[in-house]
């Protein structure tokens, strides 16, 4: 660590100003510093991160946690750059009836503590996640495995902590019995909730959450320093396909992504995968080839409370959809980085159709007004709901309001900006009485992940359509992913015909990196930090 001359000057000035003080805490001073520039130092790089919530794979769905866990764990399956499921910790995932699945685990794999990775490691982790009293976030993802109900009784403590549908046949074979056929099962295995856990984890789950032991290319290097950093280093036990090309990664935790972006510009952090949309054109100029933008799996929607009679008419939904100029909003609010959508699923999802929605997602004020009048117009106050989590929500809602005023003549529009912590409660309890912002972050690339979770039973809109639910069920039970896609598309058509939730736009993930690192191969499914190499000077 050498100080530049200018910084030394600044220090001298500071020393004069602060002359009198000494010994004030000083805890920050002793932090280890990376010896870059010497050529001998370890080849590590830093990645900007937001503080994760948990680091137990079964107990987090936060994208920040997953960024870290993706380096520490190998899930049975992963999604390649083309969106296709490929084997990772598993050798094969097969089924004859889509209901009972046989997962062969690759032999010879080890956790970073030396423990072998076996079928039991997976069964243990999945049971723990599905066990109601643990209260883990990803509990729901095991709902379709036989015996899930016994771990989550309506009341009282469960009589067992093992799902009857999980059967360890031998150390390398796990049989999974589902409650019904589900062709998408292998794709779901790419989700972090399906990662294995070693026996050592269960001795102290609390400690494990702070310092997880995984089967991936990296392992934790020291404790998780909350709100400051999480360091991982190359795991010596790793024998899988994605050997780390660097010695380690330091996740630097930022409270604000604007600050993280400033640090990237100042060369203080090597990789930032969440460049704010507002900075996209500037970042493109500054970073050139080192700026990468790609369509992600995240979608924004506008939902209607169909339990409210005033919003029951499908023509009203369509009128509103056609009165919104998505491109203009995206250009104004998101610098043109996000893409207007005419489909319920994101473009990277198999079975995506660019124009699934057709005319009703195209901006056409005249047709919109005609449909609006046909639906009987709208009387009273139109309340628009969104949360205060990000200022851009209010910006685009304001644009939507202006367009509805202009194109449909709805004059009385009010904004309902709800605190982020209260927003989901409001939607869940059906307390909203107007169109609301809905967002979905993809878990795995399957139309099922969008359609069933958002339009299925107990959806937030209060939309009920038996035919839709039947189609989803049929698609889930289809003999293969290929066979399932047309059925999901049919279901999507139904949801688009009534439009309880109108698609708005697809998010763009924007990343930038420093000149210190190479081989950055970020895909919408993974940051692939294992491939990154550090240039030695």
């Amino acid at each position: 660590m050498t100080l530049s001359r200018r910084r030394t000057a600044a220090l001298a000035v500071a020393a004069v100003i602060l002359g009198g003080v000494s010994g004030c805490g000083g805890s920050g001073g002793g932090q280890d510093k990376q010896g870059d520039g010497g050529g001998q130092g370890p080849s590590t790089f830093s990645v900007a991160l937001t503080e994760p919530d948990h680091l137990t794979p079964g107990n987090t769905s936060s994208s920040y946690s997953i960024k870290v866990l993706d380096t520490v764990f190998d899930t049975p399956v992963y999604i390649d750059a083309d969106g296709k499921p490929q084997m990772r910790a598993a050798e094969s995932v097969t089924s004859t009836d889509q209901k009972v699945w046989t997962i062969k685990i690759k032999p010879g794999q080890k956790f970073s503590n030396g423990e072998p990775v076996t079928a039991e490691s997976f069964a243990d982790a999945w049971n723990a996640t599905a066990y109601g009293p643990n209260g883990w976030t990803n509990n729901y993802y095991f709902e379709n495995i036989e015996g899930y109900d016994a771990l989550n009784p309506e009341s009282g403590t469960p009589s067992t902590d093992k799902m009857s549908g999980l059967n360890v046949v031998d150390p390398n074979t796990l049989k999974v019995a589902l409650t019904g056929p589900f062709s998408q099962f292998p794709i779901t295995l790419a989700y972090i909730a399906f990662a294995p856990m070693p026996k050592a984890a269960f001795k102290d789950l609390k400690a494990y959450d702070q310092a997880p032991i995984g089967n991936g290319p990296f392992m934790l290097d020291g404790a998780w320093q909350h709100n400051q950093k999480i360091a991982v280093k190359k795991s010596p036990e790793y024998a899988g396909d994605r050997k780390a090309q660097s010695d380690g990664v330091e996740f630097k935790i930022y409270a604000s992504r604007d600050t993280a972006y400033t640090d990237l510009r100042a060369d203080k952090v090597d990789l930032l995968t969440t460049i704010p949309p507002a900075s996209s054109s500037e970042a493109k100029k500054l970073f050139g080839d080192r700026f990468v933008a790609m369509a992600g799996g995240t979608m924004d929607y506008l939902g209607f409370p169909m339990f409210d009679k005033r919003f029951a008419n499908a023509d009203l939904h369509k009128a509103i959809s056609m009165a919104i100029d998505r491109q203009a909003i995206v250009d104004a609010v998101y610098n043109g980085a996000f893409k207007p959508m005419a489909s319920l699923v994101a473009p990277l999802v198999p079975g995506y159709r660019e124009d699934a929605c057709g005319e009703t997602c195209t901006y056409d004020p005249a047709k919109a007004k005609q449909l609006f009048d046909q639906a009987g117009g709208f009387s009273g106050t139109l309340n628009l709901y969104f949360s205060n989590a990000d200022p851009s929500y209010e910006q685009w809602m304001t644009a939507v309001a202006n367009q509805l005023k202009q194109n449909l003549g709805i004059q009385d529009i009010k904004f309902r900006k709800i605190p982020a912590s209260d927003y989901l409660t409001t939607l869940r309890e059906h307390k909203e009485d107007g169109p609301y912002r809905q967002n979905w972050v993809m878990d795995y690339p399957s139309p099922q992940n969008y359609l069933e979770f958002m339009w299925g039973n107990n959806n937030k809109m209060g939309w009920e359509n038996k035919e839709f639910n039947d189609l989803i069920k049929q698609a889930n039970e289809a003999p293969s992913v290929e066979a399932s896609l047309p059925l999901y598309q049919k279901a999507e058509d139904l949801a688009l015909a009534e439009m309880p939730l109108i698609p708005l736009w697809n998010w763009q993930d924007q990343s930038g990196h420093s000149t210190r690192i190479d081989n950055v191969q970020i895909t919408p499914y993974s940051d692939n930090l294992d491939t990154i190499t550090v240039k030695q000077k």
Partner: protein, 307 residues
């Protein structure tokens, strides 16, 4: 001495009332913190129940508060929704905020009083005008504008300071954020010192001292300045508490994981124990700072010294 002890005993009821009030306020926030944790993802009712039970969220306010106070007396300040003990969290975070506040405070004190004296001694001169204009400007511009501008200009473009984070430790990492945080107070200190000094320089005792033939340095340094500093000390004392509490914006801009950031996040997450823990400690700091100010009066002005 007895006076100091008395003042500290008065702090006990303040402590109890504050914790209860804060707890009530967090409790009164709308929404279900557990549901909010899951985001848009589905969470089965059973899991929600388990978590609500774990954090006593199903109980009425008084019972929840009771659990909290019981814990406090056992030395357990509770834990965050992510399972981190509040005591550990406070330890980490206070160190950061304390370093930031002290940096800002010293900046305020040294530069503020310096500028004030400079302006006060040359009333109406160029230095005075410059200080007045400069401080007006600083007070008028919101702190986040000063913060981002300073970060981009001195951190990113000129490279004089680190842009963000605590990597380089104290004082290097804290200099720029400290100056940003202290700039507002500095303006007040400079103006207070100036006005007070100008007034005192016209006072009878200064005239007497001048007539006696005392040197100007002695008059200003020992007599006028000492008297002039009484309002300044009051302000600096209270402002030390303000600096600790008011660091939210600065800590956010410069990514310093301090107390301000934590309170902001915890209020959003409705983590009662964290908010109560932090705010109560803030109240304690205010109490101690006020006490120190009162005791300092005595040093500066023997007339107010108590027996």
């Amino acid at each position: 001495m007895r006076y100091a002890v008395q003042r500290l005993i008065q702090a006990v009821p303040v402590f109890v009332v504050t914790t209860f009030l804060i707890y009530t306020m967090v409790f009164a926030l709308p929404g279900d913190p557990i549901l909010a944790l899951a985001g848009d993802k589905p969470v089965p009712e059973q899991v929600l129940d388990v978590l609500r039970e774990r954090y006593h969220l199903n109980d009425p306010l008084l019972v929840q508060y009771g659990y909290y106070m019981l814990g406090v007396f056992r030395g357990d300040l509770g834990e965050t929704f992510t399972g981190q003990p509040v005591s550990e969290l406070l330890q980490d975070r206070w160190a950061v905020t304390a370093q930031l506040a002290v940096t800002a405070w010293i900046f305020e004190l040294v530069v503020g009083i310096g500028l004030g004296v400079l302006a006060g001694l040359r009333r109406g001169g160029a230095a005075d005008t410059a200080v007045l204009a400069g401080t007006t400007f600083v007070i008028a511009v919101p702190v986040f504008v000063v913060g981002y501008t300073a970060q981009i200009l001195f951190g990113l473009n000129l490279g004089l300071f680190p842009t963000a984070g605590t990597d380089e430790g104290w004082p290097v990492s804290y200099l720029l954020p400290g100056m940003v945080l202290g700039s507002f107070g500095l303006a007040y200190v400079a103006r207070l010192t100036r006005t007070s000094l100008v007034e005192n320089l016209r006072a009878d005792y200064v005239r007497t001292a001048t007539a006696k033939g005392l040197g100007r340095r002695r008059i200003v340094g020992l007599h006028a300045l000492r008297n002039s500093l009484i309002p300044v000390v009051t302000y600096l004392g209270i402002d030390f508490g303000n600096l600790m509490a008011g660091a939210v914006v600065t800590e956010g801009i410069f990514n310093l994981p301090g107390i301000g950031q934590q309170v902001f996040q915890s209020i959003q997450l409705q983590e009662g124990p964290v908010v109560v823990g932090v705010v109560t400690l803030l109240v304690m700091i205010f109490i101690v700072a006020n006490l120190v100010v009162d005791l300092l009066y005595g040093v500066l002005d023997p007339r107010i010294r108590r027996a």
